[in-house]
């Protein structure tokens, strides 16, 4: 980081906070603090929804994902438009008309208090787990890439988020999100343009796309079906539809964004904007990763991008022959890539076909060398299940991007972390106060009391997130697991809301038992089954609905026969 990068980074962060606080003036009632007085325009909600969903690790990981595995991750978003249409048609008008503060408040109106409380507790467990990791995951990557202590990055991001979220409430969160999304869009466009400009002069943009495709990095749609394959068109269309239905229909961190809308139409437009914009945005981010892959066809990348681990294993006797083989494989791939691009230009299909198979086998040698280096890290005391996918993009940014742009991309990472984290903290505080404190601890107090309780709850969850992030290192490989654990809870929540909206005869007790049964089955599948995590959402939802319907049917027939 050079002085110009620091100026860009600090200016971006200060402007985000200042603008958010400026727009949040007058948040002096509970309704204004938690729901912005239901006055937000659709575009602000739309960008806030997008920003809350896109954490920093999305940008760091997604680009690395397409570098190593291609663009098929985009399929995980195919269910989003379907889910948004269902939510706009069913959930949004009901939440608006019942004037609820939280999604779970509606469950008491529809079912009973225990169902509301169970759903609230499930949300607090699941979102509370991820709140610390939202800050920790990018902090550890930034620390390793930039050489800053983890504590510094965690505290920098945590303190900034807590300050504007506690003071300004949801208005500050939403308007900061808008600005953060603008910085994210700008940073991504500049990053892509810079990668393309940095390609060798003999390689055109068309050549770059062709070479990425020949290496299998442009596989945006894969039609082969497998239960344990995380990303294909089938899991994308079915599994992710359920995931997004749960996320946008039952997760308060998202529901709260569109409850701030000044009308049903404004809330719907904000969700439909995401239905249209999210898939191209993910495609764009993945495409950046594919172009970084092409860049490294001509400039030799390190065998591992996580330089702390690389330095550690470099002196070992097993490393030298591996490095020599890697150097040879890289040079071979570079020459074949140039020959392939030339054959493609000349329209020589026989040479093209020959070079493609040689190019892929050279790529496989490189992948093998990287795999062996990762295993060496593990076998010599490094992290179990070591993967350096998350380090690829930031390593590229800090090594090759020009001064100023580096600061902007780091600002993108900070902005994404802060937007995701502020949304989480704000929604955790809302559920704590509205669904638990106001219902069980202090009923019927004045508005000012609940406003102060909301501020304290926000501060509590902010401090909790930062503290939990501080323990992140001890959690080690649990980071990946906790992301998957989030989907262990969504299926049950979704099942509960499906019952609420689609089955008017089902009552609270049947739903409550159904949710418990759903959790039991999901956890059993997680521990004893072998299927991709997107399917947990489908299974959980189906079990909750089926159990509640069976109980309802059994209860009805018992009542009928007793009459």
């Amino acid at each position: 980081m050079r002085p110009a990068d620091w100026i860009v980074l600090i200016a971006s962060l200060v402007s985000i906070v200042a603008y958010g606080l400026y727009r949040s003036r007058g948040s002096n009632t509970v309704d204004r603090y938690l729901l912005a007085g239901r006055s937000m325009p659709w575009y602000a909600m739309a960008l806030s929804i997008m920003a809350t969903q896109a954490s920093a690790i999305t940008f760091i990981s997604t680009t690395g994902q397409s570098y190593v595995d291609g663009m098929r991750f985009v399929q995980a978003y195919f269910g989003l438009p379907l889910a948004m249409v269902v939510i706009c048609a069913t959930v949004v008008p009901v939440f608006h008309r019942t004037k609820v503060y939280t999604a779970y408040e509606y469950l008491e109106k529809r079912f009973d208090g225990k169902t509301r409380t169970l759903a609230s507790v499930i949300f607090l467990c699941q979102r509370g787990l991820s709140a610390g990791l939202t800050i920790y995951a990018p902090a550890i990557v930034l620390s390793i890439i930039l050489g800053w202590p983890e504590r510094v990055t965690t505290l920098m991001m945590g303190a900034t988020v807590v300050t504007y979220t506690v003071i300004g409430g949801i208005k500050a969160v939403t308007w900061s999100d808008v600005q953060q999304m603008c910085i994210i869009f700008l940073g991504l466009v500049i990053a892509l343009v810079t990668v393309i400009v940095l390609l060798p002069s003999s390689v055109s943009f068309g050549d770059a796309v062709y070479l990425a495709g020949a290496a299998g990095r442009l596989n945006a749609v894969t039609t082969d079906f497998s239960w344990n394959d995380r990303f294909n068109i089938w899991s994308g269309l079915l599994g992710s539809t359920f995931l997004f239905l749960s996320y946008f229909g039952c997760d308060q961190s998202q529901v709260q964004r569109y409850l701030t809308g000044r009308s049903i139409a404004q809330s719907r437009l904000s969700l439909l904007f995401n239905a249209v914009a999210k898939i191209p945005m993910q495609f764009f981010i993945l495409f950046i990763g594919a172009m970084v892959f092409v860049f490294y066809l001509f400039i030799q990348p390190p065998v591992l991008f996580q330089h702390a681990e690389l330095s550690r294993i470099q002196g070992m006797s097993d490393f030298q022959p591996m490095q020599a083989q890697y150097n040879q494989a890289f040079e071979h791939r570079r020459q074949v890539a140039l020959a392939l691009a030339e054959a493609h230009h000349a329209g020589d299909s026989a040479a093209e076909s020959r070079h493609v198979s040689e190019y892929r086998s050279a790529q496989k040698e490189i992948d093998d060398a990287r795999e062996r280096a990762s295993r060496l890290v593990e076998s010599t005391g490094g992290e179990k299940g070591f993967s350096d996918t998350n380090y690829i993009f930031l390593s590229f940014v800090t090594r090759y991007l020009p001064t100023g742009i580096v600061g902007l991309v780091i600002a993108v990472i900070f902005a994404a972390t802060m937007s995701a984290s502020s949304g989480e903290i704000n929604s955790l505080a809302t559920v704590t106060v509205v669904d638990l404190y106001k219902r069980y601890v202090r009923r019927g107090a004045e508005d000012h009391h609940y406003l102060m309780a909301s501020r304290w709850a926000t501060l509590f969850w902010g401090v909790y997130a930062v503290t939990f992030a501080g323990w992140g290192k001890k959690l080690g490989s649990l980071i990946v697991a906790v992301n998957v654990v989030g989907s262990l809870f969504y299926g049950s929540l979704l099942g509960c809301f499906v019952l609420a909206f689609a089955f008017p005869r089902v009552r609270g007790t049947a739903t409550f038992i159904g949710m418990l049964a759903g959790e039991v089955v999901i956890f059993a599948t997680f521990f004893y089954g072998n299927i991709g995590y997107l399917w947990f959402n489908v299974i959980g939802c189906v079990v909750v609905v089926a159990t509640a319907l069976l109980i309802t049917a059994a209860t009805s027939s018992t009542l009928t026969s007793s009459k």
Partner: protein, 44 residues
């Protein structure tokens, strides 16, 4: 079912009805998947 207070449901700013907007979104999804599929095949 809970009481639903009266909140006016405004029409969308384009296409006239929400039903048409939803159909438009679904058509968009089909088009984007088709484009990605063709993209994948073109550069495979």
């Amino acid at each position: 079912m809970p009481d639903l207070r009266e909140v006016p449901d405004e029409p969308p700013p384009f296409l006239g009805t929400w039903r048409r907007v939803y159909v438009g979104i679904l058509i968009y999804l089909v088009v984007i998947i088709t484009v990605f599929y063709l993209f994948t095949r073109a550069y495979r």
